[in-house]
């Protein structure tokens, strides 16, 4: 009986630990793009994963950084351990403490301090800064695994080797090193795993155009996680699992196992020795050298003309970058961010100089107010003529006089509903407060979006700063709470496709995509009006390649290019010439992609309301969420 309970307990723990990973692995073989539907078994995500240049590049960067940083950290860490071991006991304890601190330090603190140091030293953020950061945080792990081995080794073996005629170096490598090798190896593998695993520190020390897998995956999150990412995560999990098995199987138990030692030099030992002394170093060397060439060939362009583009994740057709590079000879260093709020401090700190950035309306206003943007020389952007005047006018709400920004994408926020699950045609926000749809409503989980819905429904401006109006909106949101199935961001798309909810608040760009996947879905801009948003290209004040930036902006304003991007991201284009090129009349005339000016009559863009008002919004939202 006790035995059965024990087993049940163990099974529960294992399920608890591995259920999430099992889900991930299963989803990586799911033929359907949505998480909620099983569309049959497929390996296609793995295939498209390996065809994806950006991901493979990130994978390679990750491996190279992990390998190099682990190697260098192993050398430095082992040398440091030797030094510490030779110290007087008092200093040794002190040194061990000092080297342990970085390991216990929060990643975020390490990351920020490294970033500050690199900025202070005027290093250009990029591959080398990530590498340095990884070496830094890896060294303590190496020391931690080498020190115990070093303490166990017989001090006299080193002297004995010297006594027998060995030079100090020969004695170290022939006698001391093999003794501490298990520690060095597990230190190396530990460092490798840590480096592979790291997100936070990499995030703070990376530069434009360089991504490791973790930062890459993170930047993909904005558009919802692609199934390729499940495949990639599965591969990473399996690799780490294999690494861990390797660490635990390394030949350390030699001395403990008398019986095994008694067997003299068994075949296994010989094999292990050949593996350790010949095969592993050879493979490592080949990978590093080949990788070095590979990487050099990729980044060789750095000496040439370049433009550093900082854009939302998956917000530009990769083909466009290739075409731009071919046509102009300017190489594009492309980096992605997830939210305006992540992008802003990077620009503000000036740690990395970007040439072109694509923020949203209210953020552009904030950047203008903080004097972070350069005025655009319109002479260099002749393609601005393709732009629909409407959007230039809309832009004036946040960029008075159209001095700083060139519209790129725009859209509305509206209601997506499932025709089979609602009875009446929907045209008002009021449906979100209809008891009939209890537990069938999805709300956006972000403060401005949620308040925009309530404020608009009440007939106020979505940029309202009037406390009475805001309190009214808050009460309305609290009243709505029992009806809401979930407050989500990306999942609205997948849940609606999977028929999990009847009504959801969603961005128009996503709406077009959901309709392709599930024809029962319909999108509407409520008659009370809504949010219309515009993401525009801007040039930061400290951009080093302003002329190239303008060339790039001009290029994406070309009708054929704008069309390519529209087809890639499905968000509405403000480029009227591009719209005219759309072949499918259903899309060209889609009311979702291109609502009429009447539909937009009551729509507003978000404005930056100042830090104080931001705080008020956040406090009210907190009250809503906690009620």
């Amino acid at each position: 009986m006790k035995k059965i309970l024990q087993n049940i307990y163990l099974t529960l723990i294992i399920i608890f630990l591995y259920a999430p990973i099992a889900t991930l692995v299963v989803l990586s073989f799911n033929d359907s793009k949505t998480r909620s539907k099983w569309g049959g078994f497929t390996g296609k995500w793995y295939i498209s994963l390996f065809k994806d240049d950006a991901i493979m590049n990130a994978l390679y960067t990750t491996l190279i950084i992990a390998l190099l940083s682990a190697l260098i950290a192993t050398v430095i860490g082992t040398a440091a351990s030797l030094g510490i071991q030779a110290m007087h006991r008092r200093y040794r304890t002190f040194m061990m403490g000092v080297t342990n601190i970085p390991m216990l330090n929060a990643d975020i603190v390490t990351g920020i301090s490294l970033m500050l140091l690199f900025v202070a030293c005027r290093f250009t953020m990029g591959f080398s800064t990530i590498l340095m950061a990884h070496i830094t945080f890896n060294i303590p792990y190496v020391i931690l695994s080498v020190m115990p081995k070093l303490r166990q080794t017989n001090k006299h073996t080193y002297e004995a080797a010297m006594d027998l005629g060995a030079s100090p170096v020969y004695a170290f490598f022939k006698v001391v090193f093999p003794d501490i090798l298990p520690g060095v190896l597990s230190g190396f593998l530990l460092a490798f795993t840590m480096s592979l695993d790291d997100f936070v520190i990499t995030h703070f020390t990376k530069g434009p155009g360089v991504d490791t897998l973790s930062t890459k995956i993170y930047s993909e999150v904005r558009k919802g996680i692609r199934p390729e990412m499940y495949a990639l995560s599965t591969i990473m999990f399996v690799s780490v699992l294999l690494l861990l098995i390797l660490i635990n199987m390394n030949p350390s138990g030699k001395g403990h196992d008398k019986a095994r030692a008694e067997k003299t030099m068994s075949n296994r030992r010989r094999f292990g020795r050949v593996l350790m002394t010949r095969v592993v170093p050879a493979v490592l060397t080949i990978v590093v050298i080949a990788g070095g060439f590979f990487y050099a060939s990729r980044t060789n362009i750095s000496g040439k003309e370049q433009v550093v583009v900082y854009n939302w994740g998956e917000y530009l057709d990769p083909q466009v970058i290739k075409m731009f590079e071919e046509e102009t000879g300017i190489s594009v260093v492309y980096e992605e961010y997830e939210t305006n709020e992540i992008m802003y401090p990077k620009i503000q700190s000036g740690a990395i100089a970007y040439d072109v950035v694509c923020p949203s309306d209210y953020m552009i206003q904030r950047m203008i107010e903080n004097d972070l943007l350069a005025e655009i020389n319109w002479d260099n952007i002749p393609n601005i003529k393709n732009m629909d005047e409407t959007y230039m006018k809309q832009s004036q709400q946040f960029d008075p006089g159209n001095k700083y920004s060139v519209p790129y994408c725009w859209g509305t926020v509206g209601i997506l509903y499932n025709k089979t699950m609602v009875d009446e045609p929907i045209d008002s926000w009021s449906v979100l407060w209809d008891e009939k749809y209890k537990d069938n409503i999805l709300m956006q989980d972000s403060v401005r979006d949620a308040f925009a819905v309530a404020l608009k429904y009440l007939g106020y401006s979505l940029n309202s700063t009037d406390l009475d109006e805001l309190n009214e909106a808050r009460n309305l949101l609290i009243e709505q709470k029992p009806l809401v199935q979930a407050y989500v961001v990306d999942q609205v798309r997948d849940k609606m496709i999977g028929n999990e909810a009847a009504i959801g608040v969603i961005y128009s760009g996503e709406a077009i995509y959901t309709q392709w996947e599930n024809p029962d879905l319909e999108y509407v801009i409520p008659k009370e009006g809504s949010n219309v948003w515009i993401d525009s290209w801007v040039i930061p004040k400290n951009a080093p390649n302003k002329e190239n930036a303008e060339k790039f902006i001009n290029f994406v304003c070309r009708p054929d290019i704008a069309l390519m991007n529209f087809e890639f991201i499905t968000y509405s284009t403000p480029n009227k010439a591009a719209r005219a090129l759309i072949e499918d009349p259903d899309i060209r005339n889609s009311e979702i992609a291109f609502p009429s000016s009447e539909q937009l009559a009551d729509c507003e863009t978000f404005r930056f309301l100042g830090d104080k008002n931001d705080a008020v919004y956040n406090e009210l939202w907190r009250e809503v969420k906690s009620k």
Binding site: A160, M162, L164, G165, K174, K254, K258, A261
Partner: protein, 357 residues
């Protein structure tokens, strides 16, 4: 007498404030089995490490075969060391351990193989080539450590308490083994130990050290029978050491009783130390003894009985093959040549005197 092989001249060494060797002078002859004997911390291991090249003296010189080797690195010296804890290379086989030094000297493989076989035969461990050190017993490991050192044909073998970690029986076997080896190889052994029995058994010459000074240099017999001071007498074997008065030449007053002795030249009525080995005390009938006492303890030790006799309020340690039961009244007799008279140190510093030869 063979030539001097090693000459240690005025060597001093301190670690921090701790003076370990103080202007020490010593020479070692070819083919000598010389033992550095003393309690832990007496500087004997430091002296050995200076010879091996693992420590550099603060002052003084080490001359080896006519050449100054004071600052020569260990790997350039014609000495090999057998370490206290064997220091075998655990990841190498026995054959690889033994071949280590020869490989560095780029000897041909056939030569190395011959040497391995020869060395293993010498230490009675034939057929152990492919074993790993961890699978050997302590005594076997020790013999491998010796084999590893001697294949390099050193002129001098330094042994740092090599038998310290072995049990008694094994230690005794190894002592004979070492003597045999030394005779077969015909090289100089410098042996460090704190075990006086080991030193007496194996050595040609014993150097007794204490607190960085040499206390006495001599053959095992000299050291045992004629200790030059109370420290040596106390350290070598069991002894009875008394505060005594040299009444005149050839007469010493111990515990208030006059004993005839053979020593001269100490002056009249001078305080001295008198040493009497327990086996040199004869227990006789009360009326035949120089003085009388009562047996207070008896322990059977195998070869002899160890007894304590109280006489004139002093405890006398006596070894004898004849047993006297506790409470027996006995007489104590000591032959004049069995009493060893030593000058008393006049100050505490002099307790550890530097002795020039």
């Amino acid at each position: 007498m063979p030539n001097k092989l090693i000459d240690i001249i005025d060597v001093s060494k301190s670690f921090g404030d701790n003076l370990v060797l103080d202007e020490l002078n010593l020479y070692i002859r070819e083919n000598e089995f010389l033992t550095l004997l003393g309690p832990s911390g007496c500087g004997k291991t430091t002296l050995l490490r200076i010879l091996g090249g693992f420590e550099t003296p603060d002052k003084g010189k080490v001359i080896f075969d006519g050449k100054d080797i004071t600052s020569i690195a260990p790997n350039k010296r014609q000495l090999n060391t057998v370490f206290q804890k064997y220091a075998l290379f655990t990841h190498m086989t026995i054959a690889e351990n033994i071949a280590f030094g020869l490989k560095i000297k780029n000897k041909p493989q056939s030569y190395i193989n011959d040497k391995i076989r020869y060395a293993l035969k010498l230490v009675n461990l034939e057929g152990f080539e492919e074993r790993l050190p961890d699978s050997l017993s302590g005594g076997q490991q020790q013999r491998i450590a010796i084999a590893r050192a001697i294949v390099n044909e050193p002129k001098v073998l330094l042994l740092d308490e090599p038998l310290g970690a072995l049990d008694l029986k094994l230690r005794q076997d190894m002592q004979y083994e070492l003597i045999r080896l030394k005779n077969e190889l015909g090289i100089t052994f410098i042996y460090v130990t704190h075990d006086q029995e080991e030193a007496l058994t194996m050595s040609d010459t014993i150097v007794v050290m204490n607190q960085g000074y040499i206390q006495q240099i001599g053959t095992p017999e000299d050291i045992y029978n004629e200790p030059e001071n109370a420290f040596v007498a106390d350290f070598i074997g069991d002894s009875n050491i008394f505060d005594a008065i040299m009444v005149e030449d050839k007469l010493v007053k111990i515990v208030g009783v006059n004993f005839p002795c053979v020593d001269t030249g100490f002056g009249r009525n001078k305080p001295v130390d008198a040493v009497i080995r327990p086996e040199d005390i004869d227990l006789v009938k009360p009326e035949e003894g120089t003085l009388q006492g009562i047996v207070t303890h008896v322990i059977f030790k195998g070869v002899h009985y160890e007894m304590e006799v109280t006489a004139n309020n002093y405890e006398w340690l006596v070894h004898s093959t004849d047993m006297f039961p506790v409470g027996t009244e006995v007489g104590i007799h000591v032959d004049p040549f069995d009493i060893q008279i030593m000058k008393k140190p006049e100050s505490e510093d002099e307790e550890a005197v530097s002795v020039e030869e």
